[in-house]
């Protein structure tokens, strides 16, 4: 009799438990109904590495490229713009263009996030541009705010060609002993290499015009586990990319610092380097339902 009582109690407890669980999960589901009218925080994180080494702006830290050339890095800067997110059903959201320009500076960790507002949703793919689109490159001064301006403290910090007007999309400068001291290398004798990549296809009526605008697409479904971008109001979703700067040298185009220590306005050379851009970015993981940036920084 006593045993039976216990048995019944056990049964009822199991039922109660299951009911509770069901109720709870129902509640949770209720909370997670996606409302596309609500906006959540979304960012892409550009986390720099150099091959299998950490990224340092340090003249004494030497990297070695596939050609066996040793180099250090002094400047790494690039524009990220025109961010667009896709869902599994193929629908997409384009971040309003005015809010979609970012200047990532390797020497300033706070610039590594491109922070935007995006409607709630589970996004499977993100897209962004390295550089600044044609339209913005043609816009009058007042449409070039923030990182696109000359203004102290917020502007483009020299990422702009003033003599052949247009933004520099990507800048990598450093030092390497393989750079010659003559006019072809660095006549100052400081062994500097400089890669300034830009060109938005102007003049537009000239099919020969330099155009190095590159759009990068990152498929979030290819990373094992759930690494989609789950954007929810009041929370932050962060797509964490590793940016392997070594790919500028070791991408499909093998860049030799000794052969090409300065690339700026040579269409062929800059086109080759821009062709390596897509190899730089790999999706490492995504961080979802993040409450504060401190949570991201600890990762």
């Amino acid at each position: 009799m006593r045993e039976k009582m216990i048995k019944r109690d056990w049964k009822s407890m199991v039922i109660a438990c299951i009911t509770c669980c069901l109720l709870l999960s129902a509640c949770k589901k209720d909370d997670d109904i996606i409302d596309e009218n609500k906006m959540g925080d979304f960012s892409i994180e550009f986390d720099h590495i150099v091959g299998e080494d950490r990224f340092y702006i340090d003249p004494s830290y030497l990297y070695r490229n596939e050609k066996g050339e040793q180099f250090s890095i002094r400047i790494l800067m690039y524009y990220i713009s025109n961010i667009k997110l896709y869902k599994a059903d193929g629908s997409s959201y384009t971040v309003p263009q005015d809010d979609s320009y970012f200047l990532v500076d390797g020497s300033d960790r706070s610039t590594r996030f491109t922070k935007v507002k995006v409607p709630e949703g589970d996004y499977t793919k993100v897209e962004f541009m390295i550089g600044v689109d044609q339209e913005r490159n043609m816009m009058p001064m007042e449409r070039r705010t923030g990182v696109l301006s000359f203004n102290p403290g917020e502007g483009h910090a020299g990422m702009f060609w003033t003599w052949s007007q247009g933004y520099i999309f990507f800048k990598l400068e450093g030092n390497s002993d393989v750079v010659s001291d003559d006019q072809q290398g660095d006549p100052t004798g400081n062994k500097q290499f400089k890669y300034h990549i830009g060109g938005f296809g102007y003049p537009f009526d000239d099919p020969e015009a330099m155009n190095n605008i590159k759009v990068i697409t990152v498929d979030l479904t290819q990373t094992s586990g759930d690494h989609l971008a789950h954007v929810r109001e009041g929370l932050r979703s962060n797509v964490h990319l590793m940016v392997d700067v070594m790919q500028i040298f070791n991408g499909p185009y093998k860049l030799s610092i000794a052969d090409k220590p300065n690339v700026m306005f040579n269409k062929e050379d800059s086109g080759n380097i821009a062709g390596n851009f897509s190899s730089l970015f790999t999706h490492d993981h995504s961080e979802n339902y993040v409450r504060s940036e401190a949570e991201l920084s600890s990762n």
Binding site: P140, M141, F150, P152, G155, W163, D206, E208, A209
Partner: protein, 355 residues
């Protein structure tokens, strides 16, 4: 004795009144941007940046402000001298900071409201951005716009001037460039004898020699030096032998080898004052420039086809008489009022010294 004092007082009051009137008149004189009746519509969108007296005055101060250069020695007005049609008189190539030399002759600040591309290679396609080219050039001002803004912010007089011109003390790139554009937009040269003849003003008419010169001009020069700006704003190779710097002109900007050695067709207005000539200032006189077209053209794949004559020779055939007449006509493009217009002159008491 007392009477004399009273008289003096009255005279003084009258004089004070008169002065007051003068000031009011001066205020009224500022007309803003004026469209010459014989010119086309400006390329610059003035609705975006309407020229106001205070905006223009700020622009003028900035134009003559040496703080736009790294070591505060070179102003825009250093190489764009009003008396020389806003070019650098006597210098083949621009003579900038630390006595560094550029590779090109400075183009005039004149009638830029009608241009949509700037400099010899057209590398800048917005008037607002054109000052940034000179400021950032290592051989001109060797500064950055960002640092210029910091320098201006640190000066006591500028926040008030920006406030007066644009309603805010905040000195931003947009307002800085707008003010400079307002100054440049006002640099209109449209009162030459040629203009007066075209507008049938003041009974102006060409002499016989000028008439013959104008006819010759229309038949041989006007394709490129198109009226009334006296440039069609295109880029052409006019057979100038490349110099040792081998400046490839427009091709540097476009990356297109078909553009090699093409340079913007310069205006011929105020020609007498803008010597020397060509993109590298190699020819010292108008006469020598014309002789280039008669004798010295160099063939190259991008030479403008207009210079290829049916008999295989290059250039423009011109008799001595035709040349004399043409030069007489070109003199009618002189606009002395532009060269001495006080409105555009360096303000008295500025700390800028013309080199």
């Amino acid at each position: 004795m007392k009477k004399i004092w009273v008289l003096t007082l009255i005279l003084g009051l009258i004089w004070a009144c008169k002065k007051g009137n003068d000031i009011i008149e001066e205020e009224e004189i500022f007309l803003g941007f004026v469209q010459p009746s014989n010119f086309p519509k400006p390329a610059y969108d003035l609705s975006r940046n309407p020229v106001t007296k205070d905006g223009f005055e700020l622009g003028k101060k900035l134009f003559y402000e040496p703080r736009l250069s790294r070591n505060n020695t070179i102003a825009c007005g250093s190489c764009h001298i009003q008396g020389a049609g806003f070019t650098h008189h006597g210098h083949d190539v621009s003579h900038g900071i630390d006595d560094r030399l550029g590779t090109r002759n400075p183009m005039p600040i004149m009638n830029l409201a009608w241009h949509s591309e700037f400099f010899w290679d057209g590398g800048v396609f917005d008037l607002d951005f054109s000052p940034a080219n000179a400021i950032h050039s290592e051989v001109e001002m060797d500064e950055t716009v960002t640092n210029v803004l910091l320098k201006l912010r640190a000066r006591p007089e500028y926040p008030a001037l920006f406030k007066k011109a644009f309603g805010t003390e905040e000195i931003t790139d947009v307002l800085f460039f707008r003010a400079l554009s307002q100054f440049m937009l006002m640099a209109t040269s449209s009162d030459s004898k040629y203009d007066k003849v075209m507008r049938k003003e003041d009974g102006a008419s060409f002499s016989d020699s000028e008439k013959r010169g104008y006819l010759f001009f229309q038949n041989n020069c006007a394709n490129c030096h198109k009226e009334p700006l006296f440039t069609d704003l295109s880029y052409r190779n006019n057979g100038i032998r490349p110099n040792r710097s081998d400046d490839k002109g427009r091709a540097i900007v476009s990356g297109n080898e078909n553009d090699e050695y093409r340079f913007k067709v310069p205006s011929l207005r105020n020609l007498s004052f803008t010597a020397p000539y060509t993109h590298d200032g190699r020819y010292l006189t108008v006469s020598r420039m014309l002789d280039h077209y008669r004798h010295d053209m160099v063939d190259s794949p991008t030479l403008d086809p207009l210079f290829r004559q049916a008999d295989g020779t290059l250039g423009i055939t011109m008799t001595e008489q035709e040349k004399t007449d043409l030069m007489a006509f070109l003199k009618t493009l002189e606009d002395p009022t532009f060269l001495s217009n006080k409105l555009l002159s360096e303000p008295f008491g500025s700390d800028f010294i013309v080199n």
